[in-house]
Symmetry: C2
Subunit: 286 residues, 2 copies
């Protein structure tokens, strides 16, 4: 997995380097792309391609595009008018280094460029490219991630039901995780049935991911996460542990992890890397 992670990071670097754009803009875009993180989305994407035993190289542009979308959303989320975060993964946030104006534009640039990268892919049919672009826009736009972010902000000062909470997270983080898995299946020419199964799988890991996020905000180490813990409780945010209790949240986490693996096993694909990612999500400490 570490090899793939390094490959993704190299690909991201060269994808930005080739841009004919102002130096400062490229630096601001690269700064946040370089800021590390687990690269869950591109790794999920490439691990799904491995599950089909296909050459992952074809998937690099998609892996880069999804990480660029994720990174733009972090840059904009961290802005003073949004979460107002000074630190991300232990490093100063984009606007702390480059100023707010350039941070906003670096986000806009990453978002727009991700669609350019998909449109410029080699060795992929135009109709597959359109399917990927449409899927990414639906997952990341007003009906997906951007919509989820709005709902999340609006839900901050109200107590949410478990259903509301799940719907917000489904849009805010789930849809992009699902895109990561399903985009790979599309590229590999998977049948609609397998695509449906993988979509189901993604929903479980999306929920597991979010529950673990909430648990880490209670039990995690500030040093490992790279930002203060306990902020959910201070902000009286509705979370899985606050709605279900910590023990029940942990039980739900285990259940979604089990269901995700069960579905994977049914697909008949070579899923050992995907299984590893499920464990990575459930057992991660940052």
């Amino acid at each position: 997995m570490n090899v793939q992670k390094r490959v993704v990071e190299d690909e991201l670097e060269s994808t930005i380097h080739i841009l004919d754009a102002p130096k400062s803009l490229k630096e601001a875009m690269l700064y946040s792309l370089r800021a590390g993180g687990k690269r869950i989305r591109p790794l999920l994407m490439l691990a799904t391609m491995e599950a089909f035993q296909q050459d992952v190289q074809k998937g690099y542009p998609v892996a880069c595009a999804v990480e660029m979308i994720h990174t733009y959303s972090l840059i904009h989320d961290d802005l003073p008018s949004m979460d107002d975060d000074d630190l991300r993964r232990g490093m100063p946030t984009n606007h702390k280094v480059f100023g707010e104006a350039l941070a906003i534009l670096a986000g806009d640039g990453l978002l727009t460029y991700s669609f350019q990268v998909l449109s410029e892919m080699n060795g992929v049919s135009a109709s597959d490219k359109i399917r990927l672009i449409r899927y990414l826009a639906q997952s990341a736009g007003p009906e997906g991630m951007v919509g989820g972010q709005v709902a999340d902000i609006e839900g901050e000062d109200t107590s949410l039901s478990l259903e509301d909470l799940m719907s917000i997270h489904e849009n805010k983080t789930g849809r992009l995780l699902t895109f990561s898995v399903v985009s790979a299946a599309i590229l590999c020419g998977a049948s609609e049935q397998v695509i449906d199964e993988l979509e189901e799988f993604s929903k479980h890991i999306g929920l597991a991911f979010q529950i673990q996020d909430d648990i880490l905000d209670i039990e995690g180490s500030e040093e490992k996460i790279g930002k203060p813990v306990g902020s959910d409780e201070i902000n009286q945010k509705s979370t899985y542990p606050s709605l279900l209790g910590l023990e029940e949240a942990k039980a739900k986490l285990a259940e979604h992890s089990r269901l995700a693996k069960e579905i994977l096993a049914k697909t008949g694909l070579h899923t050992h890397l995907l299984m590893e990612i499920v464990d990575l999500i459930v057992k991660r400490d940052h």
Copy 2:
């Protein structure tokens, strides 16, 4: 032209209405789309389709997409950390009405959705859609409008050469105007030669547009423009009149208008609506 303008505005409304997204987000997106303006980009797009004597209806999604991109860029440009404008076309700017967080997200939503709209077009081949999406991303992203915006901010406190100024405007506003014209030509199946001619035409109207913008900041009426005039001089911004003198700038404007019309005449297309738009750009008072 007024009929087409109303058609575009109706199309924009329904394009947003069908979104399954938070109400507040749709309102913020619609607020700025409704804030009027000249709709130069969609009108250029549709007038170019008319020049090919083709059914303009096919082009509505592209006309909407380009206006959504333009509108997102205005919302982000007006933010306190960017131009910090309270008024746009005589109305409070998006963040003044909805707050900064929602304004940023409304911009992100419009940007992402514009690609979705192109990917979902009916009656257009996948390869033409990819060509349009790629062209739009190149025109609006780090190598186009976003890059131009960064260069513009960085150029604010330095005195620019005429060449620098032209390059900034080419990216910041020219590329999206060119997209408006050329996207229509692509949809109409134009030859590469005609596409090249229309690209050349677009460059002249892009320059004319910007020169007239600079002139209006000196000679325009605050009431008609809907925001204070004279800001370029106060901010010591490099403009065509500041670099060339007002008379020379006016001569350049007339020259680009003449060249634009000459090229149009050569194409052999039915260009009377496009000719009207050239006059609209040159003679506009807001």
